[in-house]
Assembly symmetry: C2
Homo-oligomer: 237 residues x 2
């Protein structure tokens, strides 16, 4: 029986891909990859794969999920995807590649559960998270041995108002998933005089990766907020 | 001028090593690696490297840190290490390999800062964390899109008593660094009727990796607590 592999590629580029992921991808006859982006179509995860191995003899299928808040609509997309996958699984092992690590805020995990519920075996291949890549970019020691590290969905915490108390709490906070409210979150960081402890990376691993810390956090260019989706904000306090 | 690379290897075995890490290691003339373990000497990070590339023409140096609570003693060890590294940096680029990711609870980060303070360039190469590997082993979706993920040093939170309130809080908790008190932490998990939401991996990536979840968390074999150092406990609630 064939297996569905949810394969983490790391944030961008083949440097973050693991040897284990390469092995799995080489053995899969079909590779599904997400097509993302609003203004332009992109497929970062698939680009990682193409940099690392020859996919010319594989069946490679791009899939676009609308990421709509309309659950009925997204469920319909997921159902269609599951049928496509099922069809491929009747032929060979199948991979779905996704940036970062598939266990952390990844659509890949949700899709995998649907495939599993249809009776197929699934396996997750771990990868480098964007926040580890971001922390390493600044050569950061994220926390003391007796302190916790919190990974926080920025937009959700901004909308619920929890952001205000979180910023006052001690310890390391990593804000991910802040495409809509990064600007307001950064404003609050500055209002709380935390810029000296703040590190922002946009598009970690990309050729045009941008990094900001300390004083620079106070005067970020507007374009940063326009491309906030790929940002990781780290606060060490 | 030569550079000191803190290279993450992932939890164990070459499958978690990234293509970028392999590139860096190939270019370094000297590789330092930590020797760990109490009853037996082991060098997991170095084993990863040897599985992935030919190190026969490189200078490979094992270093043992006592991990003593005596800060004067450990500082002396670190100082000696820095001098060794400095000597090698006069010849070529140098790597220090470490399991997991070097930005997360890693001695590699602290050592790197010392090398940097001596005027050398440092660079961190990110890797797969043990908790991502553990989550993937269970094919877990760690959190909903609006929930946070907390990485918690188990022993420290047990000793401070914070563990009790943490277990009652909603959200995903990942307990790392629990070599001394894993047994008591698991007891508290069971007392709080959380075993159905608990996932434990010991020695993730090792040949003898062990996984437990649900009912099995209530009756863990004693040997698990004897080798608690390499354990990751995930609670999804």
């Amino acid at each position: 029986m064939s297996t569905f592999f949810a394969v983490s590629t790391g944030p961008a580029g083949s440097d973050f891909l693991t040897l284990g992921a390469v092995k799995v991808l080489k053995n899969c006859g079909t590779i599904f990859y997400p097509i993302t982006g609003t203004s332009e179509e992109s497929h970062v995860a698939f680009d990682c794969v193409c940099e690392a191995l020859d996919v010319s003899k594989k069946k490679c299928i791009g899939v676009k999920f609308s990421m709509s808040p309309d659950k009925e609509k997204t469920q319909k997309e997921y159902d269609e995807f599951s049928l496509l996958v099922e069809n491929e699984l009747s032929e060979n092992d199948v991979a779905f590649v996704a940036i970062g690590d598939v266990s952390i805020y990844s659509t890949a995990a949700r899709l995998s559960k649907m495939i599993e519920n249809r009776g197929f075996g699934i396996k997750f291949i771990p990868g480098v998270t964007s926040f580890c890549a971001a922390a390493c970019e600044f050569a950061l020691d994220l926390a003391e041995r007796d302190e916790e590290i919190r990974i926080i969905p920025g937009d959700a915490y901004f909308k619920s108002g929890r952001i205000d108390s979180v910023l006052k709490e001690k310890g390391t906070k990593i804000f991910m998933k802040s495409p809509r409210h990064l600007k307001e979150i950064i404003q609050k960081v500055n209002e709380n005089n935390l810029s000296e402890k703040a590190f922002l990376v946009q598009g970690v691993g990309y050729d045009n990766q941008k990094t900001f810390s300390g004083e620079k956090i106070k005067n970020l260019p507007e374009e940063i907020f326009e491309k906030a989706y790929m940002s990781v904000l780290i606060l060490i306090s």
